[in-house]
């Protein structure tokens, strides 16, 4: 520890701190532009100059390490003069266009100029002007004359994004910040450069010129598109969401936000919203009031149950719903006598259901996973599923962690990978079993699974060695693993690896409330808080054996189910489909009979439980649009209309109180343990589809966010396959092919990808171009177009 003095305040700081760190620790503000706590030190803006006794000239606080006995003055004459001088230089070429600048009111240059600059400029000469750049549909770089060349944006793409997409060209008096000529900035976390840019050079394209920052109210919320639970500041004007910013939470999203969470709000204000209840009569849709619509629902449900029994009703819930909604939904279903309820719509393998005792979760905190010495990620696209976690793992690798993979494709993760096994989806379990066998050998222990048929290859052994030698390790299953036909085996094997190696074991929760949905019992075989219930049908069974009536809670079956084709067929065959939804989707309009506008996360109070089991509550940030109602209220009223007990809650807190008690700190209810699963390699002939869900098609909200849909990530998918697979089908790279699953054929261009295993055809799901196809990891045919 070093003893220093800042502005007369004595303090001790650890060796290696900079003056900036030390000043922060005692709350002393030093003006700065290029310095950012999460980025490397560039020391190029010189705004942070301070006086250090015995130093001959002012020193940059961000780049000067403290030495014992150092005495720093941040407000001395010398320091102030230096700061003023730097400010004057920074403003020389900066346009005086604050009144029309989008950053006005939240501009660091503006603020610091007021605090540290002179009252007027001595500069008479011509200012330099820099042409605008095209960085894509999310980040606007129209006014690059405003750039002060702090290089935060450059360092962000390189250090956090993992790939330098922005650079500084023509260094010198003609410096310009730009993406590579003709390229856009395509990082899945690119929006963060908007927050980082201290001036109005990089601004939010969708938000530009729509409001002034001081007119907006700031409300806290929680991100609804993945299981991370990023904390949000939602900015609101006149009951409309104007933009979304990150709320810093070091344990979860640090100070970042994925583009998906940042720009999805556009859908909430779009024409695609359902604003009034609607009923279909004789194939025509009619708007109606809530009373009529709910009566219709009650009639539908009682009618079907009277005629076909309660078992003829199936409830499919989206895991992006709030815990309160899911709790009431399962309570209502069970009180009514319906046991067919599930939220795991994209899951295919449910064999572990019976031997499962708790909610599947990450198995550790997010921070613990990110600080593990070795991580094995199984079946995850990472960057598309969990953009911020992927960035966090990248940081972990930089700090020395070993990242190991078992996956169905050799995707670019923009980070160093220690060892990887790339296999077909049905072989994921065999890959993980190889690792287990090697771990058992290394540990001299034996696994509680029959591994006699498993041959350990070198790469699997390297993964095992990495896990065993690490002090702390994590094994995690991603969405691809969870949707694969061998999910239950992966759970069993992963659990064994964890037991033998001491690693944490868990899953990346796919949706914002996957953990909450399991906990409150939106499951066919476990009720609220794990209570024993009469077993119902799971999501796949409800589709495979079509029901007479479906209740859809925030679900668009064609895009949200494992087998969209079968799901749509089941909906069409049903007597009645009751959809609670925020959007009037084309699919729903086609096969539903009644649409009830329920509030998205911004318009209702509620909570999500993230993948580390943390319950995060939020309030509605705007008034519900049109006739939209918060879901929990709708369910309460419906409970009363159906004359069920236990629907007297007056507030969302009343609902929450019913499940928060048993939930406690949650830990006891979280468990990735399974029993009674045997290893068995599914026999497959022919091609198998690798159907991951594209980043901007995961749920109804992002699917309707125009700016996200304009990015390269939302482009119509191509079918990629190993060159050998293409050759066998007589296709060449780039040619148009016909792919077929069940009754549906689509024409797509093919792409050769040597990183794919043989026997698979990779074609993303949930995109309008591919929704008609079948199961995500089911057989698929490929032929010349």
């Amino acid at each position: 520890m070093l003893e220093i003095e800042i502005d007369g305040k004595k303090l001790t700081v650890p060796q290696g701190s900079t003056i900036m760190d030390a000043a922060h620790s005692v709350g002393t503000y030093i003006p700065h532009f290029c310095y950012h706590k999460k980025l490397s030190i560039a020391a190029n803006c010189r705004m942070c100059l301070v006086e250090v006794e015995k130093a001959p000239k002012p020193l940059p606080a961000c780049a000067t390490p403290v030495t014992d006995g150092m005495r720093v003055h941040t407000h001395s004459d010398l320091a102030v003069k230096a700061q003023q001088g730097v400010m004057e230089f920074l403003l020389i070429n900066h346009p005086l266009d604050c009144p029309i600048c989008d950053q006005g009111g939240e501009c660091q240059l503006q603020d610091i100029a007021v605090g540290y600059g002179g009252g007027s400029s001595r500069y008479q000469e011509e200012k330099r002007s820099v042409p605008g750049k095209d960085m894509g549909p999310l980040v606007s770089a129209e006014e690059m004359s405003r750039c002060i060349h702090c290089t935060r944006c450059v360092r962000f793409t390189e250090e956090i994004g993992g790939f330098q997409e922005i650079g500084m060209a023509n260094r010198g008096e003609f410096s310009e910040i730009l993406p590579f000529l003709g390229k856009t900035v395509d990082s899945e976390i690119s929006g963060n450069v908007i927050d980082l840019c201290p001036v109005g050079a990089l601004t939010s394209k969708p938000f530009r010129y729509s409001a002034r920052s001081w007119e907006l109210s700031r409300r806290k919320s929680v991100a609804p598109h993945d299981g991370l639970g990023s904390n949000l500041i939602v900015q609101v004007y006149n009951h409309k969401v104007m933009r979304v910013l990150p709320l810093e939470n070091e344990a979860i999203n640090e100070c970042w936000l994925s583009d998906r969470d940042r720009f999805s709000y556009e859908a909430l204000n779009s024409d695609a919203r359902l604003t009034r209840p609607m009923i279909k009569h004789d194939g025509k849709w009619h708007e109606t009031d809530w009373q009529t619509a709910l009566d219709y629902v009650v009639k539908g449900l009682t009618g079907v149950s009277a005629q076909h029994g309660k078992d003829a009703i199936g409830v499919l819930a989206g895991a992006g719903a709030t815990t309160e909604e899911l709790y009431l939904l399962q309570k209502l279903a069970r009180a009514f006598g319906v046991n067919n309820i599930d939220h795991r719509l994209r899951q295919r393998d449910f064999a572990a259901d019976e031997g499962q005792t708790g909610a599947l979760w990450l198995g550790s905190t997010i921070a613990e996973m990110a600080s593990a010495n070795a991580v094995l990620v199984v079946g995850s696209t990472q960057r598309h599923e969990q953009p911020l976690l992927a960035a966090r793992l990248r940081q972990a690798v930089k700090k020395g962690a070993e990242l190991n993979l078992i996956h169905v494709a050799d995707d670019e993760l923009l980070t160093r990978v220690n060892a990887k096994l790339i296999v077909a989806p049905q072989a994921l379990a065999d890959g993980l079993a190889q690792v287990l066998k090697a771990v058992a050998e290394l540990k001299g222990a034996s696994a509680n699974l029959d591994l006699s048929g498993v041959t350990v290859y070198d790469e699997a052994r390297r993964i095992a060695e990495s896990l065993v030698r690490a002090e702390t390790a994590s094994v995690v299953l991603g969405s691809v693993a969870q949707h694969s036909p061998v999910f239950s085996q992966l759970l069993a094997i992963g659990g064994e690896i964890a037991r033998l190696s001491g690693a944490h074991f868990g899953v990346f929760s796919e949706a914002a409330n996957s953990v909450g949905a399991q906990f409150v019992g939106a499951l066919p075989r476990r009720g609220f808080a794990g209570a024993a219930v009469t077993a119902g049908l799971n999501a796949a069974e409800m589709i495979a054996a079509p029901r007479k009536a479906y209740v859809l809670w925030g679900v668009e079956p064609e895009a949200d189910c494992h087998d969209g084709q079968a799901a749509v067929a089941a909906m069409k065959a049903a007597e009645t489909v009751i959809a609670f939804t925020a959007f009037k989707g084309d699919g729903l309009l086609d096969y539903a009979d009644v649409l009830l506008p329920t509030a998205p996360f911004t318009e209702t109070a509620g909570s999500f439980v993230n993948m580390e089991g943390k319950l995060q509550t939020f309030n509605g940030v705007v008034r519900p649009l049109g006739e939209t109602r918060p879901g929990w209220k709708v369910l309460r009223v419906l409970g009363n209309l159906l004359s069920l007990q236990g629907f007297e809650q007056n507030t969302v807190e009343d609902v929450r109180a019913e499940f928060v008690g048993p939930f406690g700190d949650g830990a006891a209810k979280l468990s990735n343990a399974v029993s009674g699963v045997a290893l068995d390699k599914p026999a497959v002939t022919g091609l198998v589809r690798v159907g991951e869900v594209p980043m901007y098609h995961v749920d109804a909200i992002v699917r309707r966010a125009p700016s996200l849909q304009a990015t390269v990530h939302a482009k119509a998918p191509v079918a990629s396959a190993n060159p050998a697979v293409l050759a066998a089908a007589g296709l060449a790279d780039g040619e148009l092919a016909v792919v077929r699953q069940g009754a549906c054929e689509v024409r797509v261009p093919v792409k050769a990808d040597a990183g794919l295993p043989e026997g698979v055809l990779r074609l993303a799901a949930a995109h309008p171009a591919t929704v008609g196809l079948g199961g995500l990891f089911d057989p698929i045919e490929l032929k010349r177009g």
Binding site: E158, F163, E165, G167, A169, N170, R171, F180, K183
Partner: protein, 157 residues
């Protein structure tokens, strides 16, 4: 995109650095690419970047910083005349003016027949030989009096 010969040359440069620091060979690789192509088109820069496994914009940063990289097509012979102080004092401007008049082009221009490009250069560390001129980035021409210039130009195709 680049000939096998150029790639072999780049490989030799890459081999000089640790395997995970191929980026260090950026300048040499760009130079070799320019030698073959005459100038650095965006596609050439991108190709070099991909060959080295670095982000294209990082190679572009380098290419735009050093003025010996030509980001626009140049004539067959690129003449860079030094006009920094020592050369200026010893007739650098005179040499430049003579060249301009003789070739009928200004600084930054290429003659209509595409044979010559004239560029104003900075000190080349050869002030003792002032005024100096650099031919095609690689060969230094000393004491560029009018006669020397005539002689040099006559040698060039």
């Amino acid at each position: 995109m680049l000939s096998a010969e150029s790639l072999a040359k780049i490989d030799r440069e890459v081999a000089k650095y640790p395997a995970d620091q191929k980026r260090s060979a950026t300048m040499s690789a760009l130079r070799i690419a320019q030698q073959e192509k005459g100038w650095l088109a965006t596609e050439t820069i991108e190709f070099v970047a991909n060959y080295l496994g670095i982000p294209p914009v990082a190679a572009y940063e380098v290419a735009t910083f050093y003025n010996m990289y030509d980001l626009k097509p140049v004539g067959k012979h690129k003449l860079t005349v030094c006009t920094n102080l020592p050369c200026a004092l010893s007739g650098g401007y005179d040499a430049a003016d003579y060249l301009k008049q003789k070739l009928g082009i200004d600084f930054g221009e290429t003659s209509a027949d595409g044979r010559f490009t004239l560029v104003e250069g900075e000190c080349m560390g050869a002030c003792g030989d002032a005024p100096v001129m650099l031919l095609n980035n690689h060969s230094m021409c000393s004491f560029m009096t009018r006669e020397a210039i005539d002689k040099k130009l006559a040698e060039l195709e």
